[in-house]
């Protein structure tokens, strides 16, 4: 691999200008994925790098009544260092499981979202949170729901020559949250997947339920989730059984391997069986 240029823009605008000049440039955030997975850097062409990891505009965290807005270059360690990381619910749990503390001092939130060939482990959490992302490219700035980054066949579809600048995380208070590796192969195995589930419980009723799996493919079935909304807890065996087997069937339909799909069924069923055990 030959690096022919490392741009160090001082502003987001300059970074976008660099992208315009070299649409195939690699945006370098924390570099933890880029440095640990050689396949991320093309070996057969000249490579241009745009260093966005130290852009002050991407390093901010702002809080409003309704959401937290996080710059794409905020490190996972900084996210976890927020005074109340629990407010970030599943994201805090997912971020805490990425690498080690010293890796998280480098790894950024943007880097977990913008990986081109798989959904990294925070993606399942961000999907559950219905996060929104701000994307910039030479044509302008747009906010999208995170699922805009999910393409046909539920595969990753981060737009080429675009930069993720901010992530908006709605404030939703969850009563039960769990994020776990789904099955055996740990990161960085290509089949490594992450399971995230969260639930809001109001007066003994399941007010909101979200379940997602990220890996090679994203699994999330909003309409299925809605079928349990408003049900009284504890759910019946039948309710749990049919929801979890439908979830596994959705995964199978998306060509998630059968062993991982059946694990998903077991995870969902265990979560729905005793959501109170996953209180934050």
């Amino acid at each position: 691999m030959t690096i022919d240029d490392v741009a160090r823009p001082a502003t987001v605008q300059e970074a976008v200008a660099s992208l315009k000049r070299r649409p195939d440039a690699i945006l370098w955030a924390g570099g933890t994925l880029l440095m640990s997975d050689p396949s991320c850097i093309p070996a057969d062409r000249l490579v241009s790098i745009v260093d966005i990891g130290r852009l002050p505009e991407l390093a901010g965290i702002h809080r409003t009544e309704r959401y937290v807005e996080v710059g794409a270059a905020v490190t996972l360690a900084s996210l976890l260092a927020l005074p109340k990381p629990a407010l970030l619910g599943p994201l805090a749990m997912a971020a805490a499981a990425v690498g080690t503390a010293s890796v998280r001092n480098l790894a950024t939130l943007g880097g977990t979202i913008a990986c081109r060939n798989r959904f990294m482990s925070c993606f399942a959490a961000l999907s559950c949170m219905d996060a929104a992302v701000e994307l910039r490219d030479p044509r302008g700035v747009r906010w999208h729901g995170i699922h805009k980054l999910v393409g046909p066949g539920n595969r990753p579809a981060f737009p080429e020559a675009s930069m993720l600048t901010r992530v908006r995380l709605p404030h939703l208070s969850w009563d039960a949250v769990v994020v776990r590796a789904l099955g055996d192969p740990p990161y960085p195995h290509p089949d490594a997947s992450t399971f995230a589930a969260c639930a809001r419980i109001e007066q003994g009723v399941l007010a909101d339920l979200r379940v997602a799996v990220s890996g090679r493919i994203l699994v999330r079935d909003r309409s299925l989730e809605m079928t349990l909304a408003g049900r009284r807890l504890p759910l019946s065996r039948r309710e749990i059984g049919s929801f979890s087997s439908d979830m596994a069937a959705s995964a199978l339909a998306l060509s998630i391997p059968p062993d991982i799909s059946s694990r998903l069924e077991a995870y969902v069923s265990a979560f729905l069986d005793h959501p109170e055990e996953y209180a934050l």
Binding site: T100, P186, R263, Y267
Partner: protein
């Protein structure tokens, strides 16, 4: 002899600090597949200062000789396993050397062979050991209950602090080798034979050894031969250091074990027959095959009494990289199988696991281990303390209630507590090697300085400090006046495989004896005073159980309701290891060993049959924050002799863990009761 600073940055014994001027880096060209015939080797054009070395360049013997096996220094004509070294590339720039290795193409006409343990022909036998007493078939036929069970242990990586390697350089006409080895004299012998030089022309300096878990017995000799060959041919200092991935894939792992048993019990739950067949996969080369099968055969009955016992133990060759020892050769594997079986037997006889063990523990005069016992195995004290520490009884019955009364038997009960016992004995030293050669010399000079020369030294500086303090206390001098050296001269006895971890106690005892001798003569004879103590013990005249150290472990765990993974809540260890020289150090080393032993049960999975670059990424060694609370307690029994400690946790913690897991998952793997 410890590595001494020669301005080469060796102060800390780290191979990676070796930076003499003119250094050449050495990297290994490996067979991409195997076993099979080497069709061709194409190396890229190398610049002038670089050299490609093959087996043809070895001036002396092309293979290292071990009892029962030969290990080629570089493969010639044929490779026995994928990854076997076929050549070396050496040169001044590490990056270019690595690049040249990448560009070298080795073509092998590979024909993989079967490597399993379930079924193998005599052609794959590397070593075999048998032991029997009494009529096992008859005893099994007459037994009230017969339990059939089999257990497996997988390959485990030693994960040394520094990947293995070696350096070689000339100090005038002497070839000096820096090697992190448990067996320096073996390194010297191997190099002398490969280079066709006299052993006296080779000096071996011990690099930093760290927790070696008996993985650095013979493989360092192979790497040292590689470095020495380059230094010899190029006349420059040479260093070969494996990458972490190479170390993971190609240095010997714990040999996988398949242990199958038939155990017969009478109506009272006493063992009346034990039939064991134990097979280890030793890989393509097995320099330790004989030692491992001997240890397995010698230790398969553990501390238990049984009138009719039979063991058939095989080291089975396969087409995988060489496998080898893990903390005590076969002892930890034998203990694992036996302590799992003890739980299976207790289940079958309806007894509590501890009660079953105590009922069956050998008594004075018992001959199950092959020699009449002089002492009762010290399990009672260990178990009493263990129960106290861990609250085992209460937990066990509470979890049994949960197991039996759970509303949905298709779901695992989720709670388990297990126990296991283990011993470590100097008398289990492997069959090959010259035990009698273990000798220690102490010299008190005219200035009051004491020099101790021993064939092997403790692996960490703190243990060395304990020796110094002990010696100083015996003679009545300042510990600062005590120097300890490894006796590495050409005429020094080969400590042989006595360099296994449990030999250290024999040497420690000899150090004590030599110092006592000097103390007794100190004011009666003129200085300097020299005392030489030679180990008179040979072979296994006494039972390995007499004078052994004892340990019991309890592991408590729950199964995570979501992912079903075991979460260990605590580990308790109680030990009777005679006099503990340094209680703090001993506790810390046991805590460390228990944490590592537990880690091997949790995420350390390696399948040699499907090994590849991704294997190391999937191999999860527990980190500091994964480790549960570990309680270690030493019994003070007033015994004056210090006993070995280094293998105990590796022997009993995995079995206690697996026994707890059986209770928590209500499954006992492959057990049958007839």
């Amino acid at each position: 002899m410890k590595a001494r600073s020669r301005g080469f940055g060796l102060e800390d014994g780290r191979l990676s600090s070796f930076r003499p001027p003119d250094l050449v880096y050495v990297a290994t060209v490996r067979a991409p597949s195997g076993p099979g015939a080497i069709q061709s080797i194409h190396s890229p054009h190398l610049p002038r200062d670089y050299r490609f070395i093959t087996a043809e360049d070895i001036p002396g013997q092309a293979a290292m000789e071990f009892p029962g096996d030969k290990v080629p220094i570089l493969a010639k004509g044929r490779v026995d396993y994928p990854g076997q070294p076929v050549g070396l590339i050496a040169g001044p720039d590490r990056g270019r050397v690595d690049e040249a290795v990448r560009l070298t193409k080795v073509l092998v006409d590979a024909a993989p062979e079967d490597g399993g343990l379930d079924c193998f022909g005599s052609g794959r036998l590397k070593a075999r050991a048998q032991r029997s007493t009494g009529d096992v078939d008859r005893a099994l036929a007459e037994a009230a209950t017969v339990v059939k069970a089999s257990y497996r242990l997988g390959a485990v990586d030693h994960y040394y602090p520094e990947p293995q390697g070696a350096a070689a350089y000339y100090d005038y006409d002497r070839l000096v080798i820096l090697s992190s080895t448990q067996w320096p004299s073996q390194v010297r012998r191997a190099i002398a034979s490969a280079l066709a030089v006299d052993q006296s022309a080779v000096t071996v300096l011990s690099g930093f050894l760290g927790p070696h878990l008996d993985g650095k017995l013979w493989y360092p000799s192979l790497l040292a031969c590689h470095a020495a060959l380059v230094a010899f041919i190029l006349g420059k200092p040479a260093m070969l250091q494996l990458s972490r991935d190479e170390d993971f894939l190609y240095t010997p792992k714990r040999a996988p074990l398949l242990a199958s048993y038939r155990a017969g019990m009478d109506e009272d739950g006493r063992l009346c027959a034990l039939d064991a067949s134990l097979a280890v996969n030793i890989g393509a080369h097995g320099p330790l095959a004989a030692a491992i099968v001997d240890t397995l055969a010698a230790s398969f009955t553990g501390p238990y009494s049984c009138p009719a016992v039979r063991a058939d133990v095989w080291a089975v060759a396969s087409d995988r990289p060489p496998m080898g020892a893990w903390a005590g050769l076969g002892l930890s594997s034998a203990t694992y199988g036996l302590e799992r079986l003890a739980d299976a037997c207790s289940r079958a006889s309806g007894a509590d696991p501890l009660a079953f063990r105590l009922l069956n523990v050998s008594q004075k005069g018992d001959t199950t281990s092959g020699v009449a016992l002089k002492q009762v195995p010290r399990l009672k004290g260990v178990s009493e303390r263990l129960l106290e520490l861990s609250d085992y009884r209460r937990k066990r019955s509470a979890y049994e209630l949960i197991r039996k009364r759970r509303p949905d038997p298709s779901l695992p009960p989720g709670f388990g507590v297990g126990l296991a016992f283990a011993y470590q004995s100097n008398d289990l030293l492997p069959a090959f090697g010259n035990l009698k050669a273990l000798a220690v010399e102490a010299e008190l000079d005219k200035d009051g300085f004491l020099t101790i020369r021993a064939p092997i030294l403790p692996t960490d500086s703190s243990a060395l400090g304990v020796w110094r303090n002990e010696a100083a206390a015996i003679i009545g001098i300042d510990p600062k006046a005590v120097r300890v050296e490894r006796d590495a001269g050409a005429d020094s006895p080969d400590a042989g495989p006595a360099a296994f971890s449990n030999a250290m106690n024999t040497v420690a005892r000899l150090v004590g004896d030599a110092c006592s001798d000097i103390r007794d003569r100190r004011f009666r004879e003129a200085l300097p005073l020299v005392a030489r103590k030679v180990n008179r013990k040979s072979g296994r005249k006494s039972s390995p159980l007499d004078g052994a150290s004892w340990a019991g472990a309890v592991v408590e765990l729950t199964l995570d309701p979501l992912d079903g993974r075991p979460r260990v809540k605590g580990v308790w260890l109680s030990l009777d290891a005679g006099r503990v020289l340094s209680p703090v150090k001993a506790r810390l080393s046991l805590e460390r060993d228990a944490a590592r032993a537990l880690s091997t049960c949790l995420g350390e999975r390696f399948d040699p049959d499907h090994a590849g670059p991704a294997s190391i990424r999937a191999y999860r060694i527990s980190r500091l924050d994964d480790t549960p609370p570990i309680v270690v307690d030493f019994l003070d029994t007033g015994d004056a002799r210090p006993g070995g400690l280094g293998e105990l946790a590796f022997s009993c913690v995995p079995a206690a863990f697996a026994n707890a897991l059986s209770q928590a998952s209500d499954s006992a793997d492959s057990e049958e009761t007839a």
